[in-house]
């Protein structure tokens, strides 16, 4: 797994950057001069002999820095540790030249760029892969709004994730708008528990951005409210999530339903499929997912674990029901253990 942050960056030459910044990396030594002053140049094995001048700063892998000639005298050169060598042309990072910390926000060559917009959440799911933290992380939005204009137009898909993104309120709308304006060709996919869309006014605000290709993925774990509420550890979550979905669909917003299959949810999968096809047939996509062995799943393993082989019957029946109603269904098993 890639390490998406680093505290091991070191200054190599004089540092004239005083404030933390969101910056794009470039390894193209022929980049027009006019574009260089905002970007960092990424020195690699193949361009080390033609490092251009005029960039805001320079990154060089630690082991490569030993071979850097003495004649190279630019300011703002930093070494990055080996675990950050995956960084490449077009990537966008947040970097604090004072504390020498960095966080990777966007990788141009990745097909799965996801923006974690907050770590806060109003659910506390038994199998959460990204356990929420009750912290003030509102600075993240600022970084993301600066990063989006730096991302490549060719980005196929961009994810918004959390925590619960809708807790950002107006700031979330800013992020969706920025994606629409700066990345008009990019599909936007957001993971949300949908509860805040029970507020029709908020749902309207999101839908009225009218992003041309924006899907919201919302989890529904049971046709029975108490089971869903237990899985997400929040009373009343089922009702809010359903009302949220209804509001979004009344505004023609694309919605995907996401069902994670585990010990608490497998038994009623066919009933859930019937419930969805009868009540929520207007949903655009259904994703059935296996358990990921991360985060809280390990904590609650006894309550969650069931061998996928043991729920074949229920899964097959559910898939059959979705297929009968021509619902777009996908089964994703992530990491089998």
């Amino acid at each position: 797994m890639l390490k998406l942050y680093s505290k091991q960056i070191k200054t190599l030459t004089a540092n004239s950057i005083s404030e933390p910044l969101v910056v794009r990396l470039s390894s193209n030594h022929l980049l027009p001069i006019g574009l260089r002053r905002n970007d960092f140049f990424l020195i690699t094995q193949s361009n080390i002999d033609k490092v251009p001048s005029g960039f805001k700063g320079y990154f060089i892998p630690e082991d490569l820095s030993l071979t850097l000639g003495e004649e190279f005298l630019a300011d703002n050169v930093f070494t990055i540790p080996n675990d950050q060598e995956y960084l490449g042309d077009g990537d966008v990072i947040w970097f604090d030249p004072n504390s020498l910390n960095s966080r990777t926000i966007y990788r141009k060559n990745s097909k799965h760029n996801s923006l974690l917009v907050t770590e806060r959440c109003n659910n506390y799911c038994l199998m959460c892969s990204q356990p929420p933290r009750e912290i003030n992380d509102s600075y993240i939005v600022e970084h993301i709004l600066q990063a989006i204009p730096l991302m490549s137009h060719e980005t196929n898909e961009l994810g918004i994730t959390g925590g619960e993104p809708t807790l950002l309120g107006e700031d979330l709308i800013k992020i969706i708008k920025a994606s629409k304006i700066y990345l008009p060709e990019t599909s936007l996919h957001m993971l949300s528990n949908g509860r805040n869309f029970a507020d029709l006014e908020f749902a309207k605000k999101v839908a009225s951005v009218a992003h041309p290709d924006f899907m919201i993925g919302i989890p529904l774990y049971s046709d029975i409210n108490s089971i869903h509420d237990y899985v997400v550890q929040a009373n009343g979550a089922f009702d809010e999530t359903i009302r949220g979905i209804l509001n979004l669909k009344s505004l023609n917003q694309l919605v995907e339903l996401r069902v994670v299959i585990h010990k608490q949810t497998y038994a009623r999968l066919p009933q859930l499929a019937e419930f969805i096809t009868r009540n929520l047939l207007f949903i655009d996509h259904v994703a059935l997912m296996g358990l990921e062995m991360t985060g809280f799943t390990r904590t609650n393993l006894d309550d969650l674990w069931i061998d996928p082989i043991e729920y074949q019957k229920e899964l097959t029946e559910a898939v059959k029901i979705f297929a009968r109603f021509k619902m777009n269904t996908l089964f994703i098993i992530t990491n089998c253990v």
Partner: protein, 96 residues
């Protein structure tokens, strides 16, 4: 007095409920109702005496009265909710 009599205790079952049930059997018999001090006397007059089976009809009618009574209870308990659902239905937008 007729050969065919069904008696219903109106302290247990509403006369209205009984009438609704009898209506459903109008193809098989006519019914003559008399109030007999808290007991409803139902005189049964078969439409076609040749194929008429009184005991069978009586048993079906008595079962049906119990069901019809439950229908009345459900209908009374859910009437407001029903109106609410229908009002909501026509106030809401179409989802597709």
């Amino acid at each position: 007095m007729t050969d065919y009599l069904i008696q219903v205790d109106v302290s247990l079952f509403d006369a209205e409920v009984v009438k609704q049930v009898l209506y459903k059997f109008a193809d098989q018999a006519s019914f003559n109702l008399k109030d007999n001090q808290g007991i409803l006397d139902i005189e049964v007059i078969p439409k076609d005496p040749v194929v008429f089976d009184f005991n069978q009809l009586k048993s079906v009618i008595l079962d049906e009265i119990i069901d019809q009574d439950l229908r009345k209870t459900i209908s009374q308990e859910t009437n407001d909710l029903r109106n609410l659902i229908i009002a909501k239905a026509f106030a809401s937008a179409d989802l597709q």
